[in-house]
Amino acid sequence: MSARVNYDCIVIGAGHNGLVCAAYLARSGRSVLVLEAAAEVGGAAVTREFAPGFRVSAGAHLLQGMPRALIEELALDTHGFKFAAEDLPSAALAPGGAPLTLSVAGIRAVAAADAEGFEALSARLQRFARALAPMLSSAPPRLGTRARSEQLSLLRLGWHIRRLGRRDMRELLRIAGMCVYDLLQENLTSPLLQGALGFDAVLGTNLGPRSPGSVFTLLYRLSTSANAGRFSPAQPQGGLGALSGALARAARAAGASIRTDAPVRRIRIDSDRAAGVILESGEMLSAKLVVSSADPKTTFLGLLGSEHLDAGFVRRVSHLRTTGLAAKLHLALDREPQFNGLERSALGGRLLLAPSLDYLERAFNHSKYGEYSAQPSMEITIPSINDAQLAPAGAHVLSAIVQYVPYALTGGWEHGRQRLLDLVVDRIEACAPGLRRSITAAELLTPPDIERQFRIHGGHWHHTELALDQFFMVRPVPGAAQYASPVEGLYLCGAGCHPGGGVMGTAGRNAARAILARAA
């Protein structure tokens, strides 16, 4: 068996992390080939036409966690990347009531009693986030080694936390393991405000606001924002797919080759080293290193195979919690939707449907038993407000993340999908009368659809659940938490690695640095 082409690195998957990793590797002079199974690059950051003339970010629909430094280092603006809107506002929708804009002014108008509490809590959480953020942008330290660099890295994290001062450090340690329900009860009174803030803690997770660890996920989200230098989300011009396009051009400009429609079947092992890949077509490609942006289960159990790994490692990988609990809704609307009491300026931002923490917790309850709630929670955006090219003139697209949609629905998705779609539209209709009549096309992606379309085992947008036991030094699992894997020459660079998913690119950048540091 002789392989045809030789590369320094083969990157599996042209999602944003794969592209970022490839770009950094190529910039350092490595010959890099990126292999993408789909017809276009982007992974879950793609813009897709789901109805004639209506285009939408089919997976992720906002950009918040991608560090400004990364965007600058890769000079994405020179590759055609620009924002349609930045600093998007967030508003909390209240079925049958007035919405609340999540800003000090907005809160003063609707829930005046919480204005000070909100300001203080936001400021404190943002201080915590800034202290924690530095740990996101490098490989986590390894325990059990005596290497100075590893110990220094832990010390640095401790120092950042210590530097918060005595009061803040004590408060951070007190709340870190709490549930967000208790934290918000302590600090705020307005159910609408509590619900909206609690929603950010559980968005994209398998947690309800009363689940332990939901303050951790909130701090995580804020830390990624602090790391990105952006506490409000932004919307790329042309949708998230345009960002992927720019990343691909940046990678190509740095010298990387990208092949689409090239699904990988196996990672090739030669003398216990990753030696390249075999494509579904049977084509063999060889490389000194293989870097997988696929999720850990797909990479280790699918592309590599347990026989090349130790049993304990395989057990840890197979026990990873990887099922997604969020669905994606796309609506084509023939006119601009009207939300009760919402100013037009808020329509281009995030509209959160989580009117109270109890509402959110009840919505979560059903998912534990393979059901969805009749009252789901949502993050709604109308991207065509900021980016007219996404829909025909006068028409609009609505893109929403529907929270707490189980991967394995009791009774199966075949019959459940249309019912859920109706129900979700009804819930939005309650805040936006007339919406249903304006729908010309609708699409609902359940977690199994997300799994299939984006090739993510379990359909979780973080690849593996973000929780304390799957984070930092143990993400995705001990033995693969520093981007290297147990197999020499095989690396991970996807959302399953530290620091997780969302469209950040940090995992891809950290991985590239770890690979280059090893090779140096």
């Binding site: 216990d272 159990l301 195979g305 347990s306 026989e307 090349h308 790994l309 130790d310 049993a311 304990g312 490692f313 395989v314 057990r315 197979s318 033995g479 147990p486």
Partner: protein
Amino acid sequence: MHTIPARALFSEPLLRTPFHERARALSQLDSFIPWNGYTTVDVFSTVEQEYFAIRNASTLYDLTPMAKYRIAGADALRFLNRLVTRDVSKLKPNRVAYAVWCNDSGHLIDDGTVFRFGESDFRLCAQERQLDWLLDSAIGFDVEIADVTELSAALAIQGPTSCAVLKSLGLAGVERLKPFDIGHFALEGAPITISRTGFTGDLGYEVWMHPQDAESIWDRLMLAGRSRGVRPLGSRALNMARIEAGFILPNVEFVSAERTLRTGRDRSPLELGLDWLVDFNKGHFTGRRSLLAQRAAGVPRRLVGLDIVGNKPAHNALVYAARSGRRQIGAVTSATWSPTCKRNIALALLDAPHVEPGLEVWVEIYLNSELVWERRMCAARIVERPFYAPERRRATPPADF
């Protein structure tokens, strides 16, 4: 798999093997010990009588409590080769291989024997229950694993007259079984499988049967063995023979890596002198990368045989580099006076620089004579294992009696 009613488990925590009634009838001391969840005999009459029966006649030992797993399916061979450290693909059908398996860090989980019955039909016999580890190891393999511990009863017949006893039962061809061969026979309609394996380092066989046939086969072996000195054997005398043979025992020479609590207390096959069982060239197996790293870094300690001055067994003794006893270099794991070798022998784990054969070390033995304790510092020499390996263990056909 049958389940045991909770009430019975509560009032009677130990299971009984199919030979239990026979063993109880022959037990003169009522000396039973728990083994793998079963009650088994420690000593039937006297340790010495039972020991000498192993070396001079024959013994029957109930090894039903050994954990037994059937491993079958298209990937059975690939699964086993990833599980154990030796190359199972070299094992031919109807052959047995001694094997050990490790965790990811290359530390021993257990040892046992792999029986190959067909292309994809294996049985793994282990000292301890292994189902969870086997199922974890099966992730990604097309393999069926079934715990058959209670579906099969087993007797070891060991000693110089063992082959003659089996032959006298009319098991034609049993004498042609070479060491580690498996043969299939029938005894008055009862199917039995005989492997030329054992834990005594002597001529011997293990007889595998259905539990319902257990008592009648026991009776027939005892009857046929009457003129050939056959005795039932308890675990204590067997232990003396296994030390003479240099075999290791879990929880004695090592603690299963899945159960050690303290760091550094687990042991690798390289430390236990099982290098010959580790095949680094067969492809990947669990622990391989860690074992390669350990080999490169140097193995920190080794299991050695000791020949100790005097005749007092060095149970639990500490081992020193010099008589002064100032620097401890290891400890004895198993010790016995060997009646056959007429030597005071022991297995010991010693730190790496002190493992050269011929080297003199010092063993600190505590003696209790009528409740008066005294300490003896005895010289000992590192010697090759096994301490006792009679030619008859390999002779095919074995001598007739």
